[in-house]
Symmetry: C2
Subunit: 338 residues, 2 copies
DNA sequence: CTGAAAGCGCTTACAG
DNA sequence: CTGAAAGCGCTTACAG
């Protein structure tokens, strides 16, 4: 393959028409004998068809994946999972990052549409009116990841239920003064639903007066809000953090302030990063099935392409991970009761 | 844009020929007046040309980026940086993950070549004979990231020097029995050069007898090797880890074994992840400039496309990050001397 | 089961 | 400065 081979070259070398070579690749009728001749040439020259030249094809076998950032543990897991699934099924994954910028995200959507992808998986931090308009205009199947999307298909974490679980856990263990480090409400899944779950979970145990702060998704942001909470409520005895990374920020600030975790302040997060088990004490957290989200997302988009039936909304599982960062006030001598 | 617009549509709507619209996008001669007419229609319909239909174009304005995994902090930084630079310059980044599989990586290279990308940035964990053959066959500019590539252009971390720095640091602080948690030697940069630097740095201080273990890049791998070292040399007083993630594994094992860091065993890594400052004690480590690597890689590939001169090898900087995981035996009362 | 021909959405000499 | 025409590497009816 010293020069780039084309389908015409392969056709000539194998002594067949190029339509036949095309059919060979797209699963059309080709006699076994012809098939073998083509196969031989392809292997000899290591030929791979140019996926982008399939201008007229109904299917491009290209799937676009849009992520808010390439810098996140969770995103890494989701995309890895998608890519594995799709590659297995002979699709090519086109990954685009929006770098937390809505305009860039909209641009990415348009670009992928123009690129004639067969489907788009989008993990957005917020579905805006512009998104809805773009989605409505196109025929291309779209699956929204991690955010609920009423007008279409989505795969979501069970944010409300997870939040409620954690809220109840903190209530049940006898905490009194609770701080919440959340994210902005443009992110409906995490900023609203997860938070609401936490609030409702706490309410079950009579805790209604919590201190709520908001942050972006950064380590620094977590620190800033933790500091604010500590100033407003020096007697805070628990910090619930919308993500593990925010919890990392809380750890940092609490340590600096000379507060012991969990003796003085309990900390809990959402995420279940590997690193969390290394903290002292290990972070109590809740792990969403990110690989599952990627898997179901990929599976669903392929089903949609094949016009199969898919559920409007699929909810992926989560798992509670008990670390040592939450104190049990109710039952100090047997903390494993919970 | 209820249907997909084509250049022909835009041409018709603006009352010009489609060659003119094409020229508009590619910086050819277009009269100001005509330019405005086209501009107006484009904005109205929010048209974006289909990057994949530029079959005949000399330039596709597509740059392929191949990474070993999407699951790494460092890779995330590098790719984010590349994507920002390229987007700024109006190029589209096509990210492909090899998922630590050489065959998949080779496939990715071929696929990108067939896709007619203008250039390829490849961060490989190993350059094999197959790589060299593929690279030699194509005319497409290629920049290798993180590995030295004698036959071409590369951007590398200064692995030897960094290793030597750390080795000398551990020697200087008076350690005696040193374990090294490295990676396999197929990864020349980390598996060989970084290790050699460590060995030479230690030698400067008379330490020649170290216990060397090898691992993949995983948390679990780090644990396994740390355990082995501990068995072989219960009196080990320092563990040098080829990456922070491996150091995390070492922390885990040492904690389990009841060894205090750094009183009983010092630990040091390479990476400089944010999380490392959260460990107790904070991990002493060395941070490579991954954003710089992405930036220089992107800059270099564009220069190559424009047939400008580029250096064969560019070395990105590193920074020593002093945590609290290394004990200074030489001068225990003023540990900040170093 | 196979090939010639038209067409996908764009770019590029070329003639004006 | 602009447009008609040919061509990029593929796919798809269609006729055989």
């Amino acid at each position: 393959m010293t020069k780039k081979m084309t389908m015409a070259d392969i056709a000539e070398l194998s002594g067949v028409g190029k339509s036949t070579v095309s059919r060979f690749f797209n699963g059309g009728y080709v006699k076994q004998e012809t098939r073998e001749k083509i196969q031989k040439i392809i292997e000899e020259y290591n030929y791979k068809p140019n996926a982008f030249a399939r201008l007229k094809a109904k299917q491009s076998r290209l799937i676009g994946v849009i992520v808010p950032t390439l810098n996140s543990k969770i995103t890494g897991r989701v995309v890895t999972s998608i890519d594995r699934y799709l590659r297995e099924k002979n699709y090519t994954t086109l990954i685009q990052s929006s770098d937390h910028d809505i305009d860039q995200e909209l641009e990415n959507i348009q670009r992928l549409i123009q690129m004639n992808v067969d489907g788009i998986l989008i993990s957005s931090i917020a579905i805006t009116k512009d998104h809805r308009e773009l989605f409505a205009e196109t025929q291309i199947p779209i699956v929204v990841l991690a955010q609920e999307y009423e007008e279409g298909i989505s795969i979501i974490d069970d944010d409300y239920s997870a939040g409620r679980y954690i809220g109840a856990y903190i209530g049940k263990t006898g905490h009194q003064k609770v701080g919440y480090i959340g994210v902005y409400e443009t992110d409906v899944a995490v900023g609203i639903r997860r938070k609401q779950g936490v609030i409702d979970g706490l309410k079950e145990y009579g805790i209604t007066d919590l201190i709520i702060g908001k942050s972006d998704y950064s380590f620094i942001g977590g620190q800033t809000v933790a500091r604010e909470i500590l100033e407003k409520a020096p007697d805070v005895d628990a910090m619930i953090c919308a993500t593990d990374r925010l919890a990392f920020g809380a750890y940092k600030i609490l340590q600096k302030a000379g507060k012991k975790i969990p003796e003085d302040v309990s900390v809990v997060g959402f995420g279940g990063y590997d690193e969390s088990t290394l903290l002292t004490p290990e972070l109590t957290t809740l792990k969403f099935d990110s690989y599952g989200m990627g898997y179901f997302g990929a599976e669903t988009i392929l089903k949609m392409i094949q016009k199969k039936r898919v559920s409007k909304k699929q909810v992926v599982d989560y798992k509670f991970i008990k670390g040592g960062s939450v104190k049990n006030y109710r039952c100090a001598e047997s903390p494993d009761l919970l």
